[in-house]
Symmetry: C2
Subunit: 218 residues, 2 copies
Amino acid sequence: MTTAEENYLKAIYHLSDGGKKSVSTNDVAGAMKTKPASVSDMLRKLGEKEVIEYRKYYGLHITEEGKKQALQTIRKHRIWEVFLVEKLNFAWDEVHEVAEELEHIQSPLLIQRLDAFLNYPKFDPHGDPIPDEFGDVKAKPRLVLNEMEIDQMGQIVAVKDSSAAFLKYLDKVGAYIGARIKVLDKTDFDGSLEILVDQKKNLFMSKDVAANILVQQS
Amino acid sequence: MTTAEENYLKAIYHLSDGGKKSVSTNDVAGAMKTKPASVSDMLRKLGEKEVIEYRKYYGLHITEEGKKQALQTIRKHRIWEVFLVEKLNFAWDEVHEVAEELEHIQSPLLIQRLDAFLNYPKFDPHGDPIPDEFGDVKAKPRLVLNEMEIDQMGQIVAVKDSSAAFLKYLDKVGAYIGARIKVLDKTDFDGSLEILVDQKKNLFMSKDVAANILVQQS
DNA sequence: ATTTTTATTTAGGGATATCTAAACTTAATC
DNA sequence: GATTAAGTTTAGATATCCCTAAATAAAAAT
């Protein structure tokens, strides 16, 4: 597989939501920032390699083999992201571009050793799970914000209370679905928390608020 | 610069002995394991980019700009080698291929951070010097083997005594010009050393023998 | 000084990955 | 159901990097 093929396949995997949905030529062109004409050509090739099932004019489905290969690329990408953030002190929003290059290095031994060096991380700095070498993905654990420990990081994925008042409050304090958070401090006395949002904003939050925020740990 | 261009320029830099010698099309084809016809094409391109000075049928000279760029690629290659050996426990003779890929990752920040992470190494695992970010190369320090400290590594580069008897002795114990060594132990009493050769062979050596072996430190 | 050998370049072609423009298929609208 | 719109594919180009075969230049040999 060439670098371009790997990138297409990875995009297709994401667009198909892990193989669940059918994907169109235009979808792929959008994701890859190329023209539909270029995509048609690539889809024909990927079809021949049997990593996708391609029917002209009707879009494509990723095959089991395709999924496996896409997950290996995703695995490498996310392991490199962990390395960049944890060892080289990159910020979590600075790593994507570089990981995009590093993921194409061809060396099973390298990724195996790197994984060990990083102590077999299960999630990347964005909170996304790292597939294992067989392509198995751990479901992202979800928990209520007030159950997190100090120094744990995660991403806000949902709220329990979706009343206008609550959402308005979240908006006011700068929290939102997708925000990356880190628990800086917890007060045993009242269960209140101090949270770092997007690596910049400090936020004090009562237990009652935290109990209504669902977080995906990383 | 493309990956292929970077690789050609690096090969040219080495073949020209750092810009001292003129290089022929055939030399480059040999080093790159491509055909001379392919090289001619590439030389024209590199000439247009003014990293080499190319005269048809008469070979080429690398330019100052070319040297600078080649040294940056070499810098990246060697820094990655240090990473692979020191952090990921690769053997020094396993790293070249992977470093050959890693050196083409385009991110000045990455190499800067990696350099810091490795504590600004001056030599790669083969004992070759790592150019700094301006392309300046430290001369390789040479010293007599018995002056090395415990745990220091290096490469045998020459002998003071080149008598047949001495060379025969070296051969017998498995030491040779180019051998990679590490000082495992030193005995103060008689100045004798215990040496690891090529990461496998243990060797006891008297002070008199060690005093006749020149080593390049790394 | 001519011939032979060696080195090098040019010409033409294949693979990858991209593009624009034109053609075609399917879906949507009237 | 015909027309229009949207989506997709094909055709033809360009750029990179490689190849083989043929042509040409330079060096070596007679």
